[in-house]
Amino acid sequence: MYRLLPAGTQAPEFILPSTPDQKVSLSELRGRPVVLAFYPADWSPVCSDQMGMYNEMLPEFEKYDAEIMGISVDGVWSHAAFARDRKLHFPLLADFEPKGDVSRRYGVYSDREGESERALFVLDQRGVIRWSYLSATGINPGANGILAALDRLGKGKTSK
């Protein structure tokens, strides 16, 4: 069992592929709020899965100049096909090799399922976790907690 990294912790650095030929490193995003949305798997068979919902809500996140990224243990090709199918307009990172390594370091890996839990982190401009949340199994957490945390960082228009 892992423990959800709490608010106040420096977010562990990672470098993960976002596409077959691109990688994202967390430290590149300093200066902006970052939302990390860990989720179990691509391809939930519904039209309003968690990632789909965040996709629809992107304009709300943009008001804060926040970068949102989904993270699951699916590989880059699954992410690419999933993102294309659902018309997702934000990056999905592949915590694929070593499998679940980043999820473990954030305390949100399920050994039993071999997947990430459904968990959210809001990082401030310096990469410090300011809010984290582990969702109850089967309940899509929505975005109200994320927006409340972004509100507390100071509304939008942060210095870049």
Partner: protein, 202 residues
């Protein structure tokens, strides 16, 4: 970890801006954030009707727009069209028509439904271009995001997000136990089954 007790609450209270069926003094208020093109909302539509029929004056029902524009290309315009027709006094008629014709929501379909409800072509097409309806739908959407909408449909019972399914018995039970604390008679057991839990993901 997250029971209904810490379930998200409505951040925008029901008010004069809302489309409401039933009276404000009703013991229970059921509020839906919905998308006219979403098949799950379509499935919930007759269930909500049945809930309203069974509870009668005991229920106030409120509908707000939550169009998933990426997933459903016609949903936003349909929502705006319902607001346009609503401004002419026929919101619920249009709302029902859209849910009964979810697969025919092009602009010409919308015009046809509006005309069927007595809104003439010129009024409809002129009004549909006005930003007031776009703003209105966006305001509904933002209020939903703030309130923890996590899919469509998302229901709120007396201002608290309903995390169970929208099957008839589950909704009735949830409304019953929320509406009448200590109102005499045993309150029904709370739904604990995960059966039909909506959009459980994965």
């Amino acid at each position: 970890m997250m029971g209904d007790d810490d379930s998200p609450r409505l951040t925008l209270p029901v008010g004069p801006r809302d489309h409401v069926q039933g009276v404000a003094t009703a013991p229970a208020t059921l509020l839906e954030y919905g998308d006219y093109e979403c098949p799950y909302c379509g499935a919930a539509y007759p269930i909500v009707k049945e809930v309203q029929k069974r509870l009668g004056k005991g229920l106030r029902f409120v509908f707000r727009n939550f169009p998933l524009a990426n997933a459903h290309p016609h949903a936003t315009l349909a929502a705006e069209a319902a607001e346009v027709v609503g401004a002419q006094g026929k919101f619920w008629e249009m709302h029902d028509t859209l849910y009964e014709h979810q697969t025919a929501l092009t602009e010409s379909d919308l015009l046809r439904y509006a005309r069927g409800l007595g809104v003439d072509r010129e009024t409809f097409t002129t009004e549909l271009r006005r930003p007031v309806y776009v703003d209105r739908v966006q305001e509904d959407f933002s209020s939903g995001v703030r309130s923890g909408v996590n899919g469509t449909p998302t229901f709120y019972i007396n201002g608290i997000r309903h995390n169970g399914s929208y099957e008839l018995d589950v909704l009735l039970e949830a409304i019953g136990s929320s509406a009448a604390p200590g109102a005499g008679g045993p309150s029904p057991p709370r739904a604990t089954s995960s059966r039909g839990r909506k959009r459980s993901g994965v």
